[in-house]
């Protein structure tokens, strides 16, 4: 058990000891600048291009969980006690390529090669975790990796054929879970959380976290770091002391209580959405199109809510579903409906020293229509121009209750209260929906920016409500470009 100030992680079967590392140093900077390990590339320093993708291994009970992450926005102290796998880890010579790499070579999957290490690592995540991945899973796994040369076809083909190659001696699926690897990681675990002289603390319990934050309410809470990482790399902000949530065991829980799913503050978006989609299969598309796999593997659902961006994709549907936050300050715990949390642009209904402990999402009920629609310039890994969340209760053909929330339409994700009021009590019909559409112009005065104009946003918000009816009303008209009968897409 360790307790000193050295950051330790496993790399290529050895323990790397990183001394005197500024807490805002990124994993990418450490690999490239300090270790001279330059296979991992910087393409954008904001987690959007994937050239920096590495795989992190983390103990998860009896198992090592390996996940692709963006090293360019991953702060060094958060890799303490974990295993880092980079593109160089997979082979030692040209003649010794890993199946993922050999498949890429054989399918002509690299041209300029700069994005290639990132693709290899995203595919390596698939290789370890989804041995039966079909083409669609491969494509989904690559959503966070941009290639400007190939058109992706050969890379997708490589991903679809990498299991046809004989496993290599190292980094095959069994060897990745070997006792030696587990023991090495177990030995790195600390008795007390990492504390870099106050600049970075990683509390190990919820109480410790609550006390720590109460005492230093000016500290910055760090969860997945998928936004805070950009404050460092893009805005060059000088950060206050950091309190890291990622080592608090209680916050990593997903619990199903009476009628609700409770998701802790350190649960990644990947796990949170998997749990949510198990109950709400209609949210699978939102899950798939939310950022990218490496971002979802790092970022947390509660971090998305706490950040409270007006274009965050979790809020509209969670507001529509009536999600409730559990807020904690010291020993005090209170609950607050998510739609009451956002007061204005980057203004939230919480006090100094208070933080989101978990979010509680009501489970489905019969006769409730639930949907979330995301509109963006690019289908995958884009920020919404407009994102809508809907929960309608229909009884005997009448709209009993309607909860509608949109992102991208105001300074916060916000409910369409006028529209809701115009719909409640009306028959569940296209004419009733159409009659209510003008109310959206009373609910929202969207902005024009690089993602969309105000006119487009309003028009699409209206049309998405129409889509809700067309998809769930009597006629069930095909409304999705991805689901055309008789055409393979």
């Amino acid at each position: 058990m360790r307790s000193d100030k050295t950051i330790r992680f496993v790399l290529d079967n050895t323990v790397v000891e990183a001394h005197d590392v500024a807490p805002t140093t990124t994993l990418l900077q450490y690999l490239r600048d300090t270790m001279g390990r330059c296979g991992t590339k910087e393409g954008c320093a904001e987690g959007d291009c994937g050239a920096c993708t590495v795989v992190l291994g983390e103990l998860d009970g009896e198992h090592i969980r390996y996940q692709a992450v963006n090293s360019c926005i991953r702060l060094m102290p958060t890799v303490d006690g974990k295993e880092v796998v980079t593109v160089e880890s997979l082979s030692h010579a040209n003649a010794d390529l890993h199946p993922v790499q050999q498949a890429m070579v054989d399918h002509h999957g690299s041209q300029c090669g700069f994005c290639t290490p990132g693709f290899v690592m995203s595919l390596f995540d698939v290789y370890l975790n989804q041995p039966d991945a079909a083409r669609q899973q491969v494509v989904d796994a690559l959503a966070g990796n941009l290639c400007r040369c190939t058109g992706y076809r050969p890379i997708i083909d490589a991903g679809c054929s990498m299991n046809d190659y004989p496993p290599s001696a190292h980094w095959n699926r069994a060897e990745a879970q070997s006792e030696v690897r587990k023991q090495r990681l177990t030995d790195l675990q600390r008795e007390h959380g990492l504390d870099l002289g106050g600049a970075f603390r990683a509390p190990r319990s919820l109480d410790e976290l609550a006390q720590s934050y109460l005492q230093t309410p000016d500290a910055l809470l760090l969860a997945g770091g998928t936004d805070i990482g950009l404050w460092v790399t893009k805005q060059l902000r000088v950060l206050p002391a950091i309190i890291y949530l990622g080592e608090v065991a209680e916050l990593k829980q997903i619990q199903q209580t009476d009628g609700a799913l409770e998701i802790g503050a350190a649960v990644s978006l990947s796990y949170a959405y998997t749990a949510l989609v198990a109950h709400y299969p209609m949210l699978a598309e939102l899950h798939r199109r939310f950022a990218s796999p490496p971002i979802r593997n790092s970022g947390t659902l509660c971090g998305n809510l706490a950040n409270g961006s007006p274009i965050g994709d979790s809020m509209p549907i969670l507001i529509a579903l009536g999600a409730v936050l559990t807020l904690r300050r010291g020993d005090e715990v209170r609950e607050l409906a998510l739609d009451e949390f956002y007061l204005g642009y980057q203004q939230k209904a919480w006090q100094a020293g208070e933080f989101i402990q978990s979010v509680s999402i009501p489970l489905p009920k019969s006769d409730r229509i639930v949907a979330s629609y995301k509109i963006s310039k690019r289908s995958d890994q884009d920020i919404s121009a407009v994102c809508g969340g809907y929960a309608f209760d229909i009884e005997h053909g009448i709209i009993k209750s309607a909860r509608i929330a949109y992102g991208g339409m105001a300074a916060t994700s916000k409910r369409a209260t006028h529209t809701e009021a115009a719909l409640i009590g009306q028959p569940w019909s296209l004419s009733a929906i159409e009659a209510a559409l003008p109310e959206l112009a009373r609910d929202y005065t969207p902005l024009s920016d690089m993602r969309a104009s105000a006119d487009y946003r309003l028009k699409v918000a209206q049309n998405l409500l129409k889509r809700l009816y067309l998809e769930h009303g009597d006629s069930s008209v095909s409304c999705r470009i991805g689901q055309i009968d008789g055409v393979s897409v």
């Binding site: 590339k41 980079t86 290639t116 989904d140």
Partner: protein
């Protein structure tokens, strides 16, 4: 005898790429005292610097020295054609993000932080930010050019139908994954060694020499590989290399200039956005009788390569169509935005977009299948076969390609099926389009159509190859190595290609205009043949055979009665004092062209292709996707089919991105707001349609004597993506009529599509300016 050329060989660096061992400029280990550089950039689009105080920058932690225009020993310019691109702005600011100074510090982080501490006051001046503003102000970087052929005015007046319209075509950021970078290492006696990520090492060399006030022989530029370029590393890298050289020379320390993604996108030029207006006269079949076309492009604040880019747009405004009577007027607009530059296709795509819109509008107006109108206008084989610039079209493959592609893609049946689908699908509409490509191969700047190579054979039989071309992922090094291996009859892995190096092959042309393997392949072939002929002459004498009887194949040298390993003969030749290295040189034959009259033979040959794209749109949101793509493309007799397919697929998707999701957005203050992948959306993996059927045209070796009768492939496939835009037009037209189709602007974002669909019934569309029917048919 096994052949090395015409085979699918993997990229020479593939194993290095996939294992992270391929070295890019940023991966080069530097001494601990190396300096890192960041730029200070303007925050107005147009203005004058009233006050500049860099003292806080100088005194910031880690800063070694700050550089502004006064610190440049030679010329303050990196403009390649006109000298109108200052390295650092002095007085007038001409675009938002223009470099004013650079700070060199012990770390990149320190340099970036210090750069933000400058105190600059501006007098803000009115800024021209778009084509319309510049046209109104008659603001130009270069004079308007006009190309005339036939009698357009009388042909227009006599036409049965006449239509006018406008076409709006957006720009495009290169979004190479590796950003701009240069490293300068000071050498003795005033020399400097530059590692630059550049398509044009010689130009970097020359501009660095000018900036330093030194001779070209004082500067060596090397480039092993780039992490993508696409034209964005033709003229742009000189800025970064000049600054690195200035810093290194002044401090006597190694200096690295690597800009972050945001600075890269703000500071460097992009594909020119274009605005076109046309007036076309045509008959009942849609055959064009006369055309008057105005092309205006946003060049930005300086000329850069805008002259030849706009020339190429004019040269490609015919695409595959015979224009008997035509006038093309080309305005090169000067705006207070970043100076636009080369980008794959180099103006050709924009010219083609204009004529394809004309043809499509004619078809929709006449209610004909657009393909029928396209066919009616194709260049003929024996007649109707002269371009507006008076070059005969000699190797016309468009009929053959389109016939074959129509059949293989089942175009007619699918068009009918789509019409049926659309009739019963109120929200989702589909569309299909076939568009052809004819792209002229050669630099229009004639002097660039030459190349040099250096081939060295070592006594163990291994071969080291250098040539003037640069490797940006396209596989040039692999193709040229194939040529050399083929000439020596040795295995491909016996040939090593080393970094492009201005001290090995001088006065090189940019690796651009798709010309890389045509030019450098021929130059390397010439060098290899020179050595092979020496070896053959030596063997003939040594073994008493005729030189023609000496055959180089399969790693051996065979002659009557004797067979040797290649290495054995090489060693014997060395012992007999035979020179084992040679330069090779090539210049493209046949080309000539009069810039004043826009006539001649600017292109050695044409590359041809065609694509059928099928798309779906959501009429509620404008979301869209490709459903299926069929491509048939002409690469002559392919040097390397796998690499050529890679160029076709990658070029096609890059073009599709240009015309769909890639939108550049400037604020009303002229600040680029889409300067990172979070806001600028190039295609992602899911944008590649699963159903793609991509083929190389078979049995069509290049009619001209190119390297093993192959054809250039770098740029032409990008324009295959025009089919995607026209399939979207087709879907929009299917949903809301021909006027809606004509309203669609590029890029066809969801918003642009929804806007096009939103045609109030009975209104005059803003894209069809007017319709005139001389005779009611």
């Amino acid at each position: 005898m096994s052949r090395i050329v015409h085979q699918s060989q993997t990229h020479d660096s593939a194993a290095l790429h996939v294992s992270g061992r391929a070295r890019y400029a940023d991966d080069i280990a530097l001494p601990g005292n190396a300096l890192h550089v960041a730029f200070g950039m303007s925050t107005v689009a147009h203005g004058r610097i009233k006050f500049l105080d860099l003292s806080a920058v100088r005194s910031a932690a880690g800063v070694v020295q700050v550089f502004a225009a006064a610190n440049i020993p030679g010329h303050n310019n990196y403009g390649p054609v006109l000298h109108d691109d200052p390295i650092f702005a002095t007085d007038e600011i001409q675009f938002y993000g223009q470099p004013i100074f650079a700070v060199a510090a012990h770390s990149f982080d320190a340099a970036r932080r210090a750069a933000k501490l400058a105190h600059i006051d501006y007098e803000t001046l009115p800024a021209l930010l778009n084509i319309a503003d510049a046209l109104a102000a008659e603001s130009q970087v270069l004079p308007t050019e006009t190309l005339r052929h036939g009698e357009p005015e009388s042909a227009l007046a006599a036409a049965l139908h006449r239509l006018t319209g406008t076409v709006a075509i957006g720009g495009q950021d290169h979004f190479y994954l590796e950003g701009q970078i240069a490293i300068a290492l000071p050498q003795e006696n005033g020399g400097v060694l530059i590692h630059s990520s550049t398509q044009h090492p010689s130009e970097v060399q020359h501009l660095v020499a000018h900036a330093l006030g030194r001779h070209s022989h004082d500067v060596v530029v090397q480039c092993r590989r780039m992490g993508g370029a696409f034209g964005g590393k033709e003229s742009q890298p000189a800025l970064f290399a000049c600054v690195a050289a200035i810093v290194a020379t002044a401090t006597r320390l190694p200096a690295k200039v690597r800009v972050d993604r945001d600075a890269d996108m703000v500071m460097t030029g992009k594909r020119h956005d274009f605005s076109a207006e046309y007036d076309v006269g045509f008959d009942a079949q849609g055959r064009i009788g006369g055309l008057s076309l105005m092309l205006a492009s946003r060049c930005g604040y300086s000329a850069d390569l805008s002259g030849p880019v706009n020339d190429r747009a004019m040269f490609h405004a015919d695409n595959c169509y015979y224009l008997e009577n035509v006038q093309i007027v080309s305005h090169r607009c000067k705006t207070h935005t970043v100076s636009n530059t080369a980008f794959r296709g180099f103006g050709g795509p924009q010219g083609m977009m204009a004529i394809e819109a004309v043809v499509d509008d004619i078809a929709r107006y006449l209610q004909l299948d657009p393909l029928a109108v396209r066919r009616a206008n194709f260049y003929g084989i024996d007649e109707r076969n002269v371009t507006p610039y008076k070059m005969p079209v000699e190797d016309n493959l468009v009929h053959r390609i389109v016939d074959q592609l129509c059949a293989s893609s089942d175009y007619a049946a699918r068009r009918a099926e789509i019409a049926e689908f659309n009739a019963s699908s109120p929200v989702i509409k589909r569309g299909i389009a076939l568009t052809p490509v004819k792209f002229g191969i050669s630099f229009t700047a004639t002097q660039y159509n030459q190349a040099g190579a250096l081939v060295q054979v070592y006594t163990d039989g291994s071969v080291l190859l250098n040539h003037g071309g640069t490797e940006m992922g396209q596989g040039l090094f692999t193709k040229v190595a194939q040529v050399v291996a083929e000439e020596f009859g040795i295995a491909l892995d016996q040939v090593r290609v080393s970094a492009t190096d201005t001290s090995k092959v001088p006065n090189t042309s940019p690796t651009a205009a798709s010309s890389g393997s045509d030019l450098n392949g021929k130059a390397a072939q010439a060098a290899a043949q020179t050595i092979r002929e020496r070896l053959a002459a030596f063997a003939a004498e040594a073994y008493q055979v005729a030189p023609a009887e000496v055959v180089f194949a399969d790693g051996e040298v065979r002659m009557p009665g004797h067979t040797l390993k290649f290495a054995a003969l090489v060693h014997q030749a060395y012992m007999a004092r035979v020179s084992l290295s040679s330069t090779g040189y090539y210049r493209t034959p046949k080309i000539h062209y009069d810039r004043k009259t826009f006539s001649g033979r600017p292109f050695y040959y044409f590359a041809w292709g065609a694509a059928v794209a099928e798309v779906a749109i959501d009429t509620l949101t404008g979301e869209n996707r490709m459903l299926r793509v069929d491509i048939l493309h002409d690469v002559g007799k392919s040097l390397n089919p796998a690499l050529d397919i890679g160029q076709i697929e990658g070029g096609f998707l890059q073009g599709a991105g240009w015309l769909t999701s890639e939108e550049l957005y400037w604020s009303d203050k002229g600040e680029l707001k889409t300067h990172a992948p979070s806001t600028y959306k190039i295609p992602a993996a899911s944008d590649w349609p699963e159903d793609t059927r991509i083929s190389l045209l078979q049995d069509t070796p290049n009619a001209e004597d190119t390297i093993f009768h192959s054809k250039a492939v770098g740029e032409p496939p990008l324009m295959l993506a025009i089919s995607v835009f026209h399939a979207l037009r087709d879907a929009v037209g299917g949903a809301a009529g021909p006027q809606a189709a004509a309203r669609l602007t590029a890029p066809a974002t969801p918003e642009a599509i929804l806007h096009a669909l939103d045609v109030p019934a009975g209104s005059t569309p803003d894209n069809f300016l007017s319709v005139e029917n001389r005779v009611t048919a």
